[in-house]
Symmetry: C2
Subunit: 385 residues, 2 copies
């Protein structure tokens, strides 16, 4: 199997882009990624998107972007797995290049969520849950996360403000990321006084809907031009797993079994233990998701994940830096683009381009994208060469 | 590269299934495909679907079906490329197995389109066209096909009833396919008297919306159990190409350049010429699409594709049998499932299981799936081993 490297990265500002169309957002990211590597023509385009058919009246985004980015009629299609769509698009690109069937692949995640009318986005996002048994009863992803958090507080007798550390960390890191949607640190007082979104979730437990696009150029290391100047980052391993779509079908809703399996598999393939990573980009669409993911991945015992955020353990200078550029919470959560943003940010770290957010000696990253309540999980290990 | 075989096939009746849910339809096809090969556990599921988020309020269909079909938490995601979604799901499965990264893959195409309210489906299908420049002006896929046909009649001075032969062939073949939505032959008089849908398209130029699911089990030939009893069919070659999304961006709207490129590439890979296939399953969502596809693929000169249907040339016993089980027109067009139905039907032919529709000595098939006005084209060559 060929060694797959991510040679080019691009990203747009995350935020509310009412004046930029879906295709223009994607193009900006694609052109930035392509500009990093001259002379490599992509042969395939993998698009991570979850909501364009519903929110932008635009399906068939693969052909649209291959066309709009003047890619010469190459293969292009959308992969969709709810909030994990971006991570899955990366995996599809990885498989295509690793197989040797494609030499150069573009991966782009793009989403436009904010120029909509009230409730429309939450309704669209609810299609990621079980339509016949959950969404039909009014269960939205936010309400579901609230149920998970309430259960967690009850089951483990965890303190409500034990979750504050994740939001504080995210916003502290977002402050150092010029592409982040929110670039101001917050205090524990601000967290404790924040308005309730869906009890017990407050505003700082919930990542914001956002518009944005991020792109990656994948190829094999032997195909890179001689003048390639960035530190090289390879995809060391990739894995994907699924769990029941409906939360009520699980023996223990607080155990994200697909996270556990995906992390085990990816570490097996990379021949590392989880402790051998230098930082992790987690899918913190809700703070409870970060906690449950850390526990399922083995970084904490069940019921103790919240404790990781009680010190600077998860900070940039800590033992396990988390969401080093702000995560979904502060960078923003542009749906199917988020998984690609994670890769872009991890590569900034691994190249030493993360500015004041630089994790010291960062050589190996884990990035993980979730769809629904970890019904889909895709995990990658990225490494410097 | 490993040799990829399609060892199991399954399909549901195509029609109006108001009493069967999306997941149950898919499960029926998956179980039928799996029942053909004992002892092989799928490691990945590729879902072709285009409209479930819009028409069934259900995205995240990969995780849903991996769950509902009890596949043990394997990798699963949806691929979307408009009407080509099923064909692209087959290609994704093929790439996964050919790469050696996956031993056994399930491909399922599923769509539910008929239990909706008037206009809803056409609006959803219009998201496959260019939303900002076409659909926003009211252009639906049907209206676009009508424009193409009108232009064709004008440009080549072709007779209006020159298109009848494609509908007659489709319905004659549908009559012999127990899974087809329409199982009655029609006459040229019926064609000529049919109601106009969008001038000049009449009812028999337009494939019907439908519900249905079809599934394929892909693996490598060396992994098959010893007691495998069906004639083996391999995927000899696969290719995919794109064209502009909007029709007005093309120098010649009557030239399907992505069909031309995809067919050239797939024939190169298979080391054959188009004339060496025994039959073809075409994407006849509209009769004009069949004509333009045949011309772009090289089976007729521009302006002369309609002449192929003036004799029994395209019939089961003809030189180039087309849409041997009824095609999209008579079998029905369940959106993202249609490309998978094409594969199932081609394999029925190649196995000698096509009943009274059997193409004599069928050993090599071309199947081709289109998204939009051939903005996405995916073509496969299937062969007996």
């Amino acid at each position: 199997m060929s060694e797959v490297v991510i040679a080019g990265i691009g990203q747009t500002q995350v935020g509310e882009h009412w004046d930029i169309s879906l295709r223009s957002l994607a193009l900006e990211a694609i052109e930035a990624a392509r500009a990093e590597v001259t002379g490599l023509e992509p042969q395939a385009l993998f698009v991570g998107n979850m909501l364009a058919p519903q929110l932008s009246n635009q399906a068939h985004v693969g052909a649209l972007l291959a066309d709009y980015a003047h890619l010469g009629g190459i293969e292009a299609f959308t992969v969709e797995a709810s909030g994990a769509s971006g991570g899955v698009a990366l995996r599809a690109g990885y498989l295509a290049v690793a197989s040797g069937l494609v030499d150069v692949a573009l991966v782009v995640g793009v989403e436009k969520m904010t120029d909509t009318i009230g409730g429309e986005v939450e309704a669209a996002l609810s299609t990621a849950n079980d339509s016949d048994y959950e969404a039909v009863h009014g269960l939205t992803p936010t309400a579901q996360a609230a149920l998970l958090m309430r259960r967690y507080l009850h089951e483990f007798n965890a303190p409500r403000d034990g979750f504050a550390g994740f939001a504080l960390n995210a916003h502290a890191n977002g402050a150092g990321n010029p592409k982040a949607m929110f670039r101001k640190a917050i205090t524990v007082e601000m967290y404790n006084q924040a308005g309730i979104v869906s009890d017990p979730l407050n505003m700082f437990d919930v990542a914001p809907f956002a518009d944005g696009a991020a792109a990656l150029l994948l190829t094999r290391s032997d195909l890179l031009p001689k003048n390639f100047s960035h530190p090289l980052v390879r995809i060391k391993a990739s894995s994907m797993a699924t769990d029941t779509l409906a939360l009520h079908d699980r023996p223990n809703p607080l155990s994200f079994s697909a996270v556990q399996r995906s992390v085990e598999q990816v570490c097996d393939k990379a021949r590392i233990t989880p402790l051998q990573i230098d930082f992790i980009e987690l899918h913190d669409a809700f703070s409870i998701m970060a906690v449950l993911s850390l526990e399922a991945a083995g970084f904490a015992q069940p019921g103790e994940g919240w404790q990781l955020a009680q010190s600077d353990f998860i900070g940039i200078q800590g033992s396990l830096p988390i969401n080093t550029m702000g995560g979904l919470k502060a960078r923003g959560n542009p749906g199917g683009a988020s998984g690609v943003y994670q890769a872009v940010e991890a590569i900034q770290q691994l190249r030493g381009q993360a500015g004041k957010n630089q994790v010291p000696d960062a050589r190996r990253a884990m990035i993980q994208s979730l769809g629904g309540p970890a019904s889909t999980v895709v995990t990658h290990i990225l490494e410097t060469l």
